[in-house]
Amino acid sequence: MFNVVIDGSLCSGFGDCADLSADVFELDAHGKAHVRVGTTADPAVLEAAAACPMGAIRVLEVEAA
């Protein structure tokens, strides 16, 4: 499982994360990314974090509850 956190001060709304992992990320009305669900098993969040041009996404791999 992965815990996902976005650094709002870095996010510039490129939207790569929402395109790559729409179940986890969404853009708000101001164009900034938000996490829909804080914890997910979807490995697409790794790709989304790697693709972020601002390096604003951190993923913490945790044991499944």
């Binding site: 650094d7 790569d16 974090a49 790697a50 041009p53 601002m54 390096g55 604003a56 951190r58």
Partner: protein, 186 residues
């Protein structure tokens, strides 16, 4: 009486500088995606450098165009800066530069418009940067008069090809993933 070569020298210098800045911006963009140095390079810093180099390149292109209009060595009108094939001096070679510059300006402006055109379309348009680079290289080689600059073009093409191959052949590292550490610090 010989004419003042100031604007001719300025046009050549600014053109070569714009090409070097475009190349550096493309390389910074590729470094951002392939992240060869992992966490030692902050993505946000590389993105800032990437955008700054591109904007500086555009400013240098504006200087390049203005200097060519003001120069008397070759005759290039203001209209010829914007409309391909209007130049009486090497029309095709100049047209390559005109199209490259306009496309580069469009790609730069698209950053501010990505909320309207959508992230996917913005990224698709960003691929056109390779076309800008190819057109800019062809323009420099065919319209430019500085034969000594050939190593600059060869080096730029080699660097972009190498960085592109690196990007294609390597996946970004897992430096954004932390395992087993619940003290997630941002």
């Amino acid at each position: 009486m010989t004419h003042d070569p100031t604007f001719w020298l300025l046009a050549r210098a600014s053109g070569l500088t714009a090409y070097a800045l475009l190349t550096a911006s493309v390389l910074a963009g590729l470094v951002l995606k392939s992240r060869p140095l992992g966490r030692r390079l902050k993505a946000a810093s590389v993105t800032d450098v990437h955008r700054f180099l591109a904007l500086l390149g555009l400013a240098m292109l504006a200087l390049h165009g203005a200097a060519l209009v003001l120069d008397r060595t070759v005759t290039i009108s203001v209209a010829a800066l914007f409309v391909p094939l209007l130049s009486s001096y090497r029309p095709t070679a100049v047209a390559l530069g005109v199209v490259a510059a306009e496309l580069m300006a469009l790609i730069s402006v698209s950053f501010s418009l990505r909320r309207w055109i959508g992230g996917r379309n913005w990224r698709r348009l960003h691929w056109a940067t390779y076309l800008v680079f190819a057109l800019g290289t062809a323009h420099g080689l065919t319209a430019g008069t500085d034969r000594w600059a050939l190593p600059l073009y060869l080096g730029a093409v080699g660097a972009v090809v190498f960085a592109t191959a690196w990007r294609v052949l390597t996946r970004p590292g897992g430096h954004h993933v932390q395992r087993g550490d619940r003290r997630l610090a941002l």
